[in-house]
Amino acid sequence: MAAKFIAHTELDAWLGRISERYRALVPRREGNAVVFRPFDPAMPVELKARPTESPKAAVFPRCEALLAYKYEKDPEEPGRVEVEVAERRDGVPTVVIGGRPCDAAAFKTFDRVYDSDRVRDLNYLNRREMTVLVSLVCSKPATTCFCHWMGGGPASTAGSDVLMTPVADGHVFETLTARGDEVIGTELPDASDAQMTEARKVQAAAEAAMGEPVDVGAAREKLLALFDDAGFWEAESAKCISCGVCTYLCPTCYCFNITDEKFGHEGVRLRTWDYCMSHLFTMEASGHNPRPTKAHRLKNRVGHKFSYYPSLHGGNIACCGCGRCIRSCPASVDIRAIVLNAIAAPAPRPKG
């Protein structure tokens, strides 16, 4: 594993060279949002402000075709229509530069579901294997950051292929995996001892700035205990407007919809992001909906992340603490507060 240095003045040229080999996704400012876009030498890379969206779309696109189909008349027997179905799987070698450690750790939440003992999602895994994560150490936490509650940290290496630490005149790149080595290569100068010392200081200061983590492990049982407490969930969800901001910006939200689109005699079956705060998410054809109100739906969103998922996946919480759901929520719904309120809520009386 190597440690290299890139001066600020060299970064764009280096990104340009990376772009020749990979789809290089970098954060870019558009309006007040910071979004991941393929590197464009004409557009500045935004490494200071935190990205508004997570880089999950690099691996899990907002929309992808799972298959294509075509109806064709049998030339021998015109009354007979055959359907041809073909798998669709695409993806290009990709490097994400400037995602944060929380973003990289979040892919582990996906992996446990998309690559399990009972099922392998080949469309996901295909892109996942082609994607290299170069994560930028957060030198300062934001008000909405709580990665350390979730076992992460602003300089955590979990899930990243390369860790990128800001130092005085540039960045130190430390490779963590073979794939990371492949991206970084040998062309860059090694980081000097002084630069390494500075990088370690930045990392340590960032970790120290997070303060004491809060243990939310108790939420796992408590959220189940509060399941039938409609009053609690109505109060917690009152200001929610049931939009998809929290889920679509979330690095760990992995739910999707499957729908068919038809163009004449052919079409595609699409996988698109879906959100559990949508009324239609669980709506059944009969008209019955097991989660009829936003209180039911928010309960599932929080329950899934902090109770059901951990109980299925070795205690791992399906949240990386990036805080995007809080910062970008039109109503500033704060998932930390909901979880802490749940833990603090009086235990409901036992049933019966």
Binding site: L66, L67, Y69, Y71, G79, R80, V81, E82, V83, E84, V85, E87, V113, Y114, S116, R118, V119, R120, D121, L122, N123, L224, F227, D228, Y254, C255, F256, N257, I258, T259, D260, E261, K262, G267, R269, R271, D274, C276, F281, T282, M283, E284, A285, S286, H288, P290, R291, H296, N300, G303, H304, S307, Y308, Y309, S311, L312
Partner: protein
């Protein structure tokens, strides 16, 4: 090395026969186009499949033919939404997609030697049919078999081509019921839970297998408890909105249990341990 099977890719299948069971229920008998795939297809009673009408979408239905009769796979579809409406417009010769088998199944091995009480309401009889026929095809493995099948009216009763046999067989006890009296109806009249109480099957070493609309299930469970059935003597099978069918897409969960992979078959004891979100 895990197998590289695309979980979202349906097999193309051809509808070989359709049966208009009731005004709203149509049955499809389908055969996979690949002879090899059809020959190698195995499943257990209670498992489900996703049927595709390409261009419209997918929906989940139980395979209601038994694994002991593999000339075709049978699905009964109640017309309710977009996919089911489109399915109802199809006929023999049309091609659809099939992703199956999915989910868990009735514990037919563990049920050997037990008395079985089937209680089906409306379209809820479909998932019970697969287990019933499987047991009839392995009749010696099981104890007494009773069937209580109810529908709103005689016209709403599916599988009419089989009912005479069920009624006549000496090795099973079949009771049919409708909600209100109708002309020419020679069987029971009354709601399923009430007829069940009249039938009064003995809990002994019996297991009740039930499926039907939520309101029927609610009162049937009460009736079964009144008759002395324990929670682990009651098995049911659930329906939820599903998309992926393989435990990923995140909508059919009841707490941490995914109906598409951990279900659809649950004992009442298992259901009671899950959050209350049916």
């Amino acid at each position: 090395m895990k197998q590289a099977i695309n979980p979202y890719l349906p097999s193309v299948a051809t509808i070989v026969e359709t049966i208009q069971e009731t005004p709203t229920i149509k049955t499809f008998r389908v055969v996979l186009n690949s002879e090899e795939a059809m020959r190698n297809f195995t499943f257990h009673p209670g498992q489900v499949g996703q049927l595709s009408v390409f261009g419209t979408g997918e929906s989940t239905f139980v395979i209601n033919s038994p694994p002991t009769r593999m000339d075709y796979l049978q699905f009964s579809v109640m017309c309710a939404g977009e996919v089911t409406a489109k399915l109802h417009s199809l006929s023999a010769g049309d091609q659809i997609g099939v992703r199956a088998p999915l989910g868990n199944w009735f514990p037919h091995e563990e049920l050997k030697g037990r008395d079985i009480v089937f209680i089906g309401g409306g379209i809820g009889m479909a998932p019970l049919r697969t287990l019933l026929l499987y047991m009839l095809d392995n009749r010696g493995d099981y104890g007494d078999i009773s069937v209580l099948y109810g529908a709103r009216t005689p016209q709403d009763m599916a599988f009419q081509y089989e009912l005479p046999e069920w009624l006549e067989r000496g090795d099973m006890n079949t009771v049919l019921t409708i909600d209100v009296p109708a002309e020419g109806w020679e069987h029971s009249v009354g709601l399923i839970p009430n007829v069940l109480l009249e039938m009064a099957p003995s809990p002994g070493n019996a297991v009740a297998v039930t499926c039907g609309p939520p309101i029927m299930i609610k009162f049937t469970l009460q009736a079964l408890q009144k008759l002395g059935f324990q929670d682990d003597q009651i098995i049911t099978t659930l329906e939820k909105r599903m998309k992926c069918g393989v435990g990923i897409c995140g909508r059919c969960n009841i707490g941490g249990s995914y109906v598409c992979v951990d279900g659809p078959v649950y004992t009442y004891a298992q259901l009671k341990a899950l959050p209350n979100e049916l």
